[in-house]
């Protein structure tokens, strides 16, 4: 009993700190401009709400473990349920009390002179426009209510809980992307009068929200009931028939991939191109970091070399002496960047992993300093950059505008994907793997580590150069400030969130970390905060990433497995008993 309360207080305390943090750094206020459900809840408040719900749910989950096995056969006593919900409410109350405290303190002291984001707008948001005392009380009440609701969700049988949670998640997701849905709907020709019923630029309408919620529940229930049998039936079919299904899925995927820019519209296509560039970068960085195990933090340097060589070779600007077509320039660009890869790779050959990381970071900065410097201004344009980069022409067809540029980046990304897949199973891929595992052993086994390290750097650089080339063409002008350390960190973060070494992970990571922040413009201010948090949390909680490659996951948990084995063998031999540990 006492332990439960202490746990609720503890979780509430942490949740409260998170809520306070989100509020004080200005996220709540910034995201208030966009609504999940129009006129009901904004993204800003939605984030706080989700925080409270999750804390309530977590409290219930930790306490409930000892009391009830929720969901299974519904064998919960009323008392256990009351304890769970009561503690969830308590945790929720503690969370909201932090925010109430903020409101009270702000009413006495002017925090804004230092903490720039504790603005009157934030306070009025938190107090729902009421005056201090009443607002704080309402806040506390709502915190308790939603903490209890979170706990209540846990106490439901899983048959009910799963669709419910899925519905809420869908709601949050599509609410977040309501602007995109809106443009997509008008793009595929649905008249705006009809579209407005479901979704507005600022958020879903209540009607749209209900529809999405119900749809999600229906899909989830359907999934539970029909998916497994369907898969089973397909596997029972003769192989020739199975091939039709596989072929059908592939064809559907390819058609979707090709039609994507015309479905989502011009604005979103622009984001797609950017995501594509980062997917390309992710594939390239994956060769260096994922396969060869060299943590390269200066990956932006190759991106910059690719972009700059494209600019200089194709631009009509006075800086570039030559002007050739994109396709003629492309091999030269790739070769130049490959050489840059060798130049960066050569000095760091004998360095240890962590030194290598920081030195490559330094190289990335040097690339920017050089592009910015007066020294190289006659060739690279200094701070003014290079302008007038022409669009790519394919015969008489000009690839102009994001919707057509999409196909260019798609082609490059598929090419990079193909190379990465082939490398995985080749002699080179195995050599890299051996090197990553243990350099000395690999060398003893006859792997020429110097050659393979340089190869990894050069290959990674070449793939990045394609991204740089598309980037230059996309913007038709480049400036040194675009090539800062943020690019490297973004590429690293998307690689890590997806799972190092996992190619589908790169795609997922790029959509999550580049796509969504790009679509929500308010988000851009907090992009790097998010990346930093992603790096920390992923490393602590799930180092293998969201879509892990099986082998990497096994490597990362090798130590634990070894330890477990040791423990097991020792206990079996009765040398030590678990109690002694």
């Amino acid at each position: 009993m006492f332990n439960n309360v202490r746990l609720a207080l503890k979780l509430g305390f942490y949740g409260g700190i998170i809520a306070l943090f989100i509020s004080v750094i200005g996220m709540v206020e910034t995201f208030d401009q966009r609504n999940i459900i129009n006129g009901v809840v904004s993204i800003g408040l939605g984030v706080l709400l989700i925080n409270v719900l999750v804390i309530g749910y977590q409290t219930a989950a930790r306490i409930g473990k000892g009391l009830v096995q929720p969901g299974e056969n519904g064998k919960q006593t009323a008392r256990a349920r009351a304890i769970v919900i009561g503690n969830g409410s308590l945790a929720g109350a503690v969370v909201s009390s932090w925010l109430a405290l903020l409101v009270l303190v702000e009413s006495q002291i002017n925090l804004r002179s230092v903490l720039i984001n504790v603005s009157p707008e934030l306070i009025s948001l938190l107090t729902f426009g009421l005056e201090t005392g009443a607002g704080a009380l309402l806040l506390l009440f709502l915190g308790t209510l939603f903490g209890g609701l979170g706990a209540f969700t846990f106490s439901l049988p899983s048959r009910v809980r799963r669709p419910l949670v899925a519905g809420l998640m869908w709601l949050a997701f599509w609410g977040l992307l309501s602007g995109v849905i809106r443009t997509t709907l008008s793009e595929i020709g649905i008249p705006s009068v009809v579209a407005k019923l479901f979704v507005k630029i600022e958020g879903l309408t209540p009607l749209g929200a209900v529809i999405i919620f119900l749809l999600a529940i229906a899909i989830n229930l359907g999934n539970q009931r029909w998916r497994e049998p369907l898969i089973e039936r397909i596997t029972l079919l003769p192989p020739t028939r199975q091939r039709y299904f596989r072929f059908g899925t592939w064809a559907l995927g390819i058609i979707l991939l090709l039609a994507l820019p015309w479905i989502v519209g011009r604005v979103t296509s622009d984001t797609l191109v950017l995501v594509g560039i980062y997917i390309l970068m992710g594939f390239g960085l994956n060769i260096v970091v994922g396969k060869a195990g060299l943590l390269d933090l200066g990956y932006v340097a190759f991106f910059a070399v690719g972009a700059y060589s494209t600019a200089i070779l194709t631009s009509a600007d006075e800086i570039s002496a030559i002007q050739i077509s994109f396709w003629a320039a492309l091999p030269i660009i790739v070769i130049i960047t490959g050489i840059a890869g060798l130049l960066v790779g050569a000095p760091v050959l004998r360095m240890r992993g962590d030194y290598l990381a920081i030195v490559t970071l330094g190289f990335g900065e040097i690339a920017r300093f050089i592009a910015l410097s007066d020294w190289f201004k006659p060739w690279l344009g200094g701070a003014q950059g290079v302008i007038n980069i022409p669009s790519v022409a394919l015969g008489n067809f000009l690839i102009v505008g994001p919707q057509k540029l999409y196909y260019l980046i798609l082609a490059f990304a598929l090419f990079a994907l193909f190379i990465s897949r082939r490398l995985d199973k080749s002699r080179v891929g195995r050599a890299w793997e051996a090197m990553r595992e243990d350099e000395d052993v690999a060398e003893t086994m006859g792997v020429n580590t110097i050659y393979y390290k340089l190869l990894a750097f050069a290959m990674g650089a070449m793939i990045a150069s394609l991204g740089g080339a598309v980037f230059a063409v996309k913007l038709s002008a480049i400036f040194p400030h675009s090539f800062n350390v943020e690019v490297s960190i973004t590429a690293l973060s998307l690689l890590i969130i997806g799972g190092i070494g996992s190619l589908p992970g790169v795609v997922v990571g790029a959509f999550a970390l580049v796509g969504i922040p790009e679509l929500l413009r308010e988000f851009s201010e907090y992009r790097l905060l998010l990346y930093g948090a992603v790096l920390i949390i992923m490393m602590i909680v799930r180092p293998e990433g969201l879509v892990p490659s099986t082998r990497r996951a096994r490597e990362l948990h090798e130590d634990e497995a070894a330890q477990d084995d040791w423990l097991k063998s020792e206990t079996e031999r009765n040398i030590i008993t678990p109690a002694e540990l």
């Binding site: 760091v348 360095m351 962590d354 920081i358 040097i366 020294w375 960190i489 905060l529 602590i540």
Partner: protein, 358 residues
């Protein structure tokens, strides 16, 4: 016998060794050529050089204070606390608000020394809090993880902290009020020496002397040295390893915080959320230069880097005919890091731990 001789020759004259020697000679020639050119041009007098060196020492002592944090943590945990530059920023950025407030209230012009003390306390406290939280939340769960995992976490923490402080205090620039008394000039033997530079240098030396006493003379220092030697054995000897690690972060944070205020005295402008990134990178360079894990080495490395970075562009790059050489100041520091890591990864004073203890 014959075979081994041939092997030895083959080893010594492998392509890589040859390239490294070529690089070594190349760097030497470039430095020499640039310096001779500049000196021969006679554009600068001896006093200019001395002034540059003193300015470099002042700058370098700030690097040294930050570098000590890297070195201490590395010595004990064997990992690079990449976010240490942000620990420095946290102190400088927080105390600038106190400084501005004291300036507005008129307290500052009246009691400058007291103000300095207050700023120092505020800055050290906030840096220490950040450093300890960092250790507790981000690093402790990963203590036995493979080496690159905590480094990636540290990089994440670095950006997380930058943008947290941006969210807290805004993205604008702030400026420390100027300590009027410090901005005079001493005339010694016909040369003008800026008082502030001497002050910065002395203040940093004082901090470092304090650190030296703690590490060498106190029981805590002894425990720190024991833990850095061998964590497991130290634990067996009854040393609370977790406590020692926290203390290490506290000391590193305090030094970084003091560096924050001292930097504010010396270069009052440009206090913002990104101010820790490049000093952090350079302080790491300094730590490596002196031999990472080595305390006197970090001090020496910092001072050397400061001088090199101040004198270098003028002395070497101008001689090579590179325009606006000072733009490349930061690049010089990074190139130096690369060269040190290629040719002498153990640093100036470091033992050969680069390989074995890795």
């Amino acid at each position: 016998m014959k075979n081994t001789l041939r092997q030895r020759i083959g080893e010594q004259f492998s392509l890589i060794t040859l390239l490294l020697w070529a690089l070594r000679v190349g760097v030497f020639i470039v430095v020499l050529w640039g310096s001779i050119n500049t000196l021969a041009s006679g554009r600068y007098e001896a006093s200019t050089w001395i002034n540059l060196v003193i300015a470099g020492l002042a700058q370098g002592s700030i690097y040294a204070l930050i570098a000590l944090g890297y070195s201490l943590v590395y010595g004990i945990l064997r990992f690079i606390n990449f976010a240490h530059g942000e620990v420095f920023m946290a102190g400088a950025f927080t105390s600038v608000f106190v400084a501005e407030a004291l300036e507005r209230s008129g307290f500052f012009p009246k009691y400058p020394i007291l103000t300095f003390a207050i700023l120092l306390i505020v800055s050290m406290t906030s840096s220490t809090v950040v450093a300890v939280l960092l250790e507790r939340i981000a690093y402790r769960p990963l203590r036995n993880a493979p080496r690159l995992v905590p480094l990636i976490t540290a990089i994440g923490a670095s950006f997380f902290l930058q943008y947290t402080f941006r969210g807290l205090y805004g993205s604008g620039f702030h400026t420390y009020p100027e300590f009027g008394q410090l901005w005079g000039v001493w005339n010694i033997a016909g040369m003008d020496i800026q008082i502030v530079q001497v002050f910065v240098f002395l203040a940093s030396l004082l901090m470092m002397a304090g650190l030296y006493l703690i590490v060498e003379r106190t029981k805590t220092g002894k425990a720190m040295r024991a833990v850095s030697e061998d964590k497991e054995i130290a634990a067996l000897m009854g040393i609370d390893v977790n406590r020692v690690i926290v203390i290490t972060f506290v000391i590193g944070g305090m030094l970084a915080g003091s560096a924050g205020v001292i930097r504010g005295m010396y270069q009052p402008q440009g206090i913002w959320f990104f101010m820790g990134f490049h000093p952090g990178l350079k302080a790491f360079t300094a730590a490596v230069l002196g031999g990472i894990g080595n305390i006197p080495g970090a001090m020496l490395g910092g001072l050397f880097l400061g001088v090199f970075e101040t004198v270098g562009p003028t002395l070497i790059l101008q001689g090579l005919g590179i325009p606006a050489a000072n733009q490349l100041k930061d690049a010089i520091a990074i190139i130096m890091l690369v060269l040190v890591l290629i040719f002498r990864p153990q640093g100036i004073l470091g033992e050969k731990l680069a390989e074995e203890k890795a």
